[in-house]
Amino acid sequence: MVSTANQGDRRCATNLIRLLLVTFAVLLTFLHNRALADNSAVDTSSVVSASITPLAPPTSLVVSDHVYDNAERLDLVWVPSIDDKLIASKLIEYRVYRITDSGDGQRIAVLPAGANSFSDENVESGHQYSYYITSVGADSEFPSISSEPIEPEREWLNYHLISLLLICMIIGVAITYFIETARRGKKLFIRRIAGLEAIDDAVGRATEMGRPILFIPGIQDMDDVGTVAGVTILGRVCRVVAEFDTKISVPTSRSLVMTAARETIKTAYQTAGRPDKYSDDMSNYITDEQFGYVAAVNGIMVREKPATCFYMGTFYAESLLLAETGNSVGAIQIAGTSNPMQIPFFVVACDFTLIGEELFAASAYLSSEPKQLGSLKGQDLGKAIALTAITIGVIAATGSSAWHIGWMQDILNALESIFLTR
């Protein structure tokens, strides 16, 4: 037989167990739900971070003034975002912002992923500029730290052109040295120039035939070196003309050249001891217009039929027109121009032609002026430098390209760094 107290205890224990079980179940459920909530929270957070892709911003942004410019450029350099280097990088591009006076960022450039530099060319001196760069994903943008304000500067000297300065100094010193040498009376050798001996003969021919001489000092103005050389040769020709008492005509295309020509002719006549024979009518201004001038000179040639025509200076399209007309009137023609495009016409139509720099050499040779002689000798040094550089450069380029000789490549690089000033 079981006692009632035992039944009550048993019932109490059962209830207790039931309570514990229920509590445990409730607790379990609660915890499970909590876990579910946490998971969905994680999912949420992953949903949230899918719309805001976290990206590391670029770092170490450095803004510097671009050297040797006109205060018109600032260079930005930065370390790309570490996300940029990932294989499955979510970084799409970089954006460059300039901070305005109000503190806002004004976007000035969009650069592809991988970029680490940019030059802002819309800057002016007298203003300070600061920037920041953002790394941009599909849906997010993360800025770097802003740079310190910087002002573009204008340098006094462009050291990229130092080689140019050195070469100019070498040639300049050489020219000065030779000019001084010539001034001290030392004879500077200039090789014989064919065509110069013909000048005296040509003037003599005109005198014998009783026909005038026509001298054309080119169609450019006195700021052109060819014209200066032409007028110098005119002085030499006029000394002979003054001695032989031959008529000379110098039509010009520029009023300034007319004035210089008149002075030169007057000086030549004075030097020859014939100042009374000089007349201003020996040199006249025609017109600035190229073909108007040619038409007038052609007319002079046909009407006056000069015995000798000199074309000394800078010529363009009118060269053949002049030479052909001079040829048709039977004149002896001596020409000299530095314009390589017109030299062929003078070569075919004239009796003697001074090619290119021979015009300046002739001017120096005839005048024996120390400045001209010294300049010519100095230029020869320049040519020697160019010749040496080209010879060494070609050998070095051939050696490095054909036979891959390393030190020849170094020589070529060194030469190019001297002569390539861009």
């Binding site: 006109n70 073909f291 363009y316 399209a317 390589p340 495009m341 000033t421």
Partner: protein, 299 residues
């Protein structure tokens, strides 16, 4: 069509005439220079009536110009310097017109100027021809927005140099005396840095070489050029050094350019005359040398 056949027949007669001249030369007879002038006039004029186009091949230097131009995107600003006058127009005007037509069809913004006094008026002529094109006319382009003519400025290479600092300093007004700041196209255009390409059409000095010396090497300007045939050989060293991006030389360069851009113009129609005139000159040179050799032999 009748004119085409008559002209062809006359050209054949000229060919026979050349044989006759050669015969006379071999016989020691001199040829009257006026006859030579007349011969050249006919050789040049008759092909103008012949409706025949000789095959034209685009040379590498012209192709380089075309590639430079076609690489520009719509809205790109091109500075065109017309440094020539009417005597050089037969060679350079066709290039200018072909380029202007291409540029306006492809929405390039054009800024014309000139370092020669008559250059801007040549630009205006080219613009008038280009704007008359049906495709371009349909676009209803506006002066000051799509194109502008800054006019002439004296000073030669000093102008080119000064423009590196400020266009406005050299051109405070345009050709129509509109202030620089009032022209929408020039809004934001301070100097070469806002220009995508400089096209230079040049007949002499100042011209392409001055642009190279004062703009390309100094301000890193991108330059393409069209020159007269006289000037072109002088520019080849700069082409070789990469200082100019392509070169169109003379009328043949203009014809190649028209072909490459598919803009038929005057140069293409003149090229047959050019061919016959060259042939005539070559034959005269041969005849003249034969005569000289025979004269030497006799002596």
């Amino acid at each position: 069509m009748m004119g085409h056949y008559i002209a062809l027949s006359l050209l054949a007669v000229l060919g026979l005439g050349m044989i006759f001249i050669f015969y006379l030369t071999v016989k020691g007879r001199t040829i009257e220079r006026r006859f030579v002038f007349l011969y050249i006039v006919f050789t040049v004029s008759l092909p103008l009536f012949v409706k025949m186009k000789p095959p034209i091949q685009v040379s590498p230097e012209v192709q380089q110009v075309v590639e430079t131009i076609t690489s520009l995107s719509p809205g790109a600003k091109v500075l065109i310097s017309c440094d020539f006058d009417p005597p050089s127009a037969p060679e350079l005007q066709p290039m200018l017109v072909a380029f202007t037509k291409y540029a306006l069809k492809h929405d390039l913004k054009l800024i014309f100027m000139g370092l020669w006094p008559l250059g801007p008026s040549q630009a205006n002529r080219g613009l008038r021809l280009a704007l008359a094109d049906t495709i371009i006319a349909a676009k209803n382009l506006t002066y000051g927005v799509d194109y502008v003519n800054l006019g002439f400025q004296s000073g030669n290479e000093f102008v080119i140099q000064a423009m590196g600092g400020s266009f406005k300093s050299m051109f405070p007004q345009d050709d129509r005396r509109i202030p620089y700041d009032s022209i929408p196209l020039l809004n934001g255009v301070v100097n070469y840095r806002q220009i995508d390409l400089v096209m230079n059409f040049s007949a002499g000095k100042p011209g392409t070489i001055e642009w190279i010396q004062n703009a390309v090497d100094r301000y890193q300007v991108k330059l393409s050029a069209g020159n007269t045939a006289v000037q072109a050989p002088q520019v080849y060293p700069y082409l070789r050094a990469g200082q100019v991006r392509g070169l169109m030389g003379g009328m043949s360069g203009a014809a190649e350019f028209e072909l490459a851009l598919n803009e038929k113009g005057k140069a293409s129609s003149f090229i047959l005359s050019q061919m016959f005139s060259h042939l005539a000159v070559m034959l005269f040179v041969i005849v003249g040398n034969v005569a000289w050799l025979m004269t030497r032999k006799k002596k």
